[in-house]
Subunit: 209 residues, 2 copies
Amino acid sequence: MVRRPLFEFWYEFASTYSYLAAMRIEQAAEEAGVELVWRPFLLGPIFKSQGWDTSPFNLYPAKGRYMWRDMEREAVRFGLPLYKPNPFPQNTLLAARIALVGLDSGWTPVFTKAAYMAEFGEGRDLSDVQVLSGILSGLGLDPESIMAEAQSETKKSCLRRLNEEAQSRGIFGAPTFIAEDGEMFWGNDRLEQALEWAARQARRSDLPV
Amino acid sequence: MVRRPLFEFWYEFASTYSYLAAMRIEQAAEEAGVELVWRPFLLGPIFKSQGWDTSPFNLYPAKGRYMWRDMEREAVRFGLPLYKPNPFPQNTLLAARIALVGLDSGWTPVFTKAAYMAEFGEGRDLSDVQVLSGILSGLGLDPESIMAEAQSETKKSCLRRLNEEAQSRGIFGAPTFIAEDGEMFWGNDRLEQALEWAARQARRSDLPV
């Protein structure tokens, strides 16, 4: 029996194109026969190391205006709602920590999609503890214990390590997809190519189980 | 009789993804039934107004490394050679002015493709007058008279006006495609969507002749 190749999905909750990717990646990965690895991380520290104190879409207004128009078109194309968060980008530190809590018990994907939908589909404030608690309750999870774990030193340092890993692996934006052989693809536009790459790799080699 | 809708192709000779677009845009535009308008311009002044003194791919090394890897994959996908120019980006002022000279007599497309091929396919220096003259000769054109016209005040101010237009229309990168209704698309990845948009517009309305 051959196991499925791993396929890393690095995403930032504040990232518009990560939203588009998150809402469709599970089906696409299933069809490609790869095993998704969810990697919530923060772009803020990476931007800061480049000298940026906010999103490049805010720093470069022409690029920002274009991005929102492009997102309108892309949201239509993927059949998704689109709401521009205020403020943009949202503070997603707590959301990312919560997503990490879910990795062991497997609810990270449903939480991720629900959080993106609250933020970009309904315009709710993703930095608000009440909003995040509501999302968790809506999924039948226990907000109180999850919040406590999300704010634990273990999870805080876990997110810090993930961010360091992102930076050391050359990630500079989101979404970023990484195949098991390390091949990196950036942007929702590259999801199909990234999955093709991963699936081709899988056919070529017997992956160690 | 209904005329074909105009479809503007804004490109920078130093731009890697403009190369990919230039080599395939004529056939794609033909299939979509749109009339291509070639718009050579310079990204340098636009980058400068954003506080950048070189390509963002140089300013942000992680992004630059990724771009070259992505270009390798994309070149394979489109069946094109890829050579990394040295220096990158090339000084493309003269090449852009020459391209403007060809607009009236219609050789801008063949010159553009030959120049991109020299630069990214063969690694030749596009700022070199000899290289540019050789390209023109190879196309059966007269380098001497074209060079003189390219360096005329008329063509210089023509390029300046084009650059001002690019900036005022919100162009921030290349390639950029603009449909006749003003809808803007950025990046080689968006060529198909841009052409679809333009063709849909054409079907919807009788364009004024």
